[in-house]
């Protein structure tokens, strides 16, 4: 059993001209690499879902009289907290801006059980690793008199819906 290490000497460029064999070699190599790249891209497109399933981002949460003045009601299913002070209404997100856990209500506002982020009554960060305040969502009064929240539209903290 022996191994012949002698190199194939078929690829000889003569006088700067590219030999046919080398040219074909380059083309074949480029073709293989290109196919590999294409299949990688198509695999990526395949695992990236086009349709996603989730909850509607826009929903109604009930009549204003369901939330008497002074209410801070966490609607866990919707991931929001409805606040009513006098005639002013707001919807604050209860999804922690740090890593997505659900915050709970605490004496001073909101607190996250996963990594200890703390927020005040208005969702401003008062401690912990959260990088941003809890977002406020657009809240409107629908024609049928129900409160409608749209989680796709963030509004400036402190902007209430006045009834």
């Amino acid at each position: 059993m022996a191994v012949n290490l002698k190199r194939s000497s078929g690829v000889e460029s003569d006088g700067g001209r590219t030999s046919r064999r080398r040219m074909l070699g380059w083309l074949a190599g480029a073709g293989l690499l290109g196919s590999a790249g294409l299949s990688a891209v198509s695999n990526f497109l395949f695992i990236k879902p086009r349709a996603t399933y989730g909850q509607p981002q826009r929903f109604s949460v009930g009549k204003p009289e369901d939330f008497p003045s002074g209410t801070r009601a966490i609607l866990a299913v919707r991931g929001i907290c409805i606040i009513r002070e006098g005639s002013k209404l707001a919807a604050i997100s209860t999804t922690c801006t740090h890593l997505g856990c659900t915050v709970g209500s605490a004496d001073t506002g909101f607190a996250c059980p996963c990594h200890g982020s703390r927020f005040d009554q208005d969702g401003n960060v008062t401690g912990g690793p959260a990088p941003r305040p809890l977002p406020w969502f657009q809240i409107t009064l629908a024609p049928n008199g129900e409160i409608e929240v749209d989680k796709d539209i963030e509004i400036a903290p402190g902007s209430y819906l006045t009834l």
Binding site: T52, Q55, L99, G104, A106, P113, C114, R118
Partner: protein, 430 residues
């Protein structure tokens, strides 16, 4: 192998010989009784031929390796077998997964035992792979020519962590749901591609059925396949890099004449126009052309008995643990309320503690720096000194830095485990 051939006419004699002939057709060699047969058995048996015929005495010293690499591999074997068995009952569905866990506990024969074995082997594998990494570092075994095998080893360590992460999501209990939520959110902090990776991992914008299915496929197919390939490369390279690392003075210095016969040249210095025997190409001092004194012994039975012993001890330990302790199962998923505090398994608590200071630096920045430091070590530390000895004086600085990192991580794990209470605020455990 000369065996008596029966007379052609005797059908009975042929039939009588069938068991013996079947046996001999499977096993090419008799049970070894001399060195030639020991060699032949090792390299003609499929399962044994991954081993060298002769192995260095230093590689067999229990106090050098503690068998950690081998234990990691055996744990992986146990995990594969128990994992495949669990797949017969598991359904990756948000409505069924948890009930299937309860079924494993309540109605499936040996269900609890298998789940326990799978869980404790997984914990064990994370721990042992990490200890193996420490052993290789502290003995300087990553040095030339083993740099790339160290890189493969670091990748194996990361794959082990990913496998264990994707695994504990599958019961779809509280731990699972909030771990996916947090884990994918950490991925979202990666620069540029973070949000895309998060979306791909979750298969949508929120954690649910798609995310569970994706992590299931990663856990039972994608990651084990990559891990298996990497293990194969890891083992192959151990052989090609000249066996396990050992101190330079572990081999007797041969005479000059013997050296000339024994040292195999690098392929790059071989004459292209000459014919070489295969032995001339194999690197490392274990393949010899001439008669050179060495410190090797035959793998059969020395190495194989040691491996069998390690396997029996590993399996027994996992069995005993699994008979005594049940694998944890938290409450079923409640997407509205995370448990308070919501804690990861122990080996991720250091990460969770770091993440509780900064999501980017704790979850992406620092881990990336750690991994890059690990990967870069053999290419920065080029000194050939101190290979093959625990805590060598020549490696005082390197080892000290490494141990400092390890201790820091252990402190983070301890803080996360014992000093964090509700809302992840500081508590004292006493």
């Amino acid at each position: 192998m000369s065996r008596p051939t029966p007379p052609k006419s005797s059908l009975l004699a042929t039939l009588m010989d069938v068991p013996k002939n079947v046996w001999n057709s499977i096993f090419r060699n008799p049970l070894p009784s001399n060195d030639l047969e020991r060699s032949a058995t090792t390299f003609t048996n499929f399962f044994l031929h991954i081993h060298p015929v002769k192995v260095h005495k230093n590689s067999l010293r229990p106090a050098y390796t503690f068998g950690l690499g081998l234990i990691s591999f055996f744990l992986f074997v146990i995990l594969t077998v128990t994992g495949i068995l669990l797949m017969f009952y598991y359904v990756p569905s948000t409505t069924q997964a948890y009930d299937r866990m309860l079924d494993l506990r309540g109605t499936v024969a040996f269900g609890t035992l298998l789940r326990n074995m799978h869980r404790w082997s997984a914990h064990g594998m994370v721990a042992v792979v990490f200890l193996h990494l420490c052993r290789v570092f502290l003995t300087g075994a990553y040095k030339k020519p083993r740099e790339f095998n160290w890189v493969v080893g670091v990748i194996l360590f990361l794959l082990t962590l990913f496998l264990s992460f994707t695994g504990y999501l599958l019961p779809w209990d509280q731990l699972a749901f909030w771990a996916i939520t947090v884990g994918t959110a950490i991925a979202g902090y990666a620069p540029i591609v973070g949000k895309d990776i998060q979306f791909l991992l979750m298969g949508g914008t929120s954690v649910g059925q798609e995310a569970l299915l994706r992590f299931y496929v990663l856990h039972v197919a994608v990651l084990p396949a990559i891990l298996t390939l990497m293990i194969a490369i890891h083992f192959w390279r151990i052989r090609k890099d000249g066996g396990l690392s050992r101190p330079a003075d572990a081999d007797p210095s041969p005479s000059l004449e013997a050296m000339e016969n024994a040292v195999a040249p690098k392929a790059s210095v071989l004459e292209p126009k000459k014919l070489y025997g295969l032995q001339g190409l194999v690197r490392g001092p274990l393949t010899k052309v001439g008669q050179v004194p060495d410190n090797t012994v035959f793998s059969w039975p020395n190495l194989f008995l040691a491996e069998l012993f390690t396997f029996v001890v590993t399996l027994s330990a996992i069995l005993i643990l699994s008979l005594i302790f049940n694998a944890p199962l938290e409450e079923p998923v409640n997407a509205l309320h995370p448990p308070n505090p919501a804690k990861a398994p122990w080996y991720f608590l250091g990460l969770q503690e770091m993440v509780s200071y900064s999501a980017f630096w704790g979850g992406i920045g620092m881990p990336t720096i750690f991994v890059l430091l690990l990967l870069g070590t053999p290419y920065v530390d080029r000194s050939p000194k101190g290979v093959g000895k625990w805590f060598s004086r020549d490696r005082l600085l390197t080892n000290t830095i490494f141990i400092a990192f390890v201790v820091a991580n252990i402190i983070f794990v301890i803080i996360g485990t014992f000093f964090r209470g509700a809302n992840w605020s500081f508590v004292t455990p006493w």
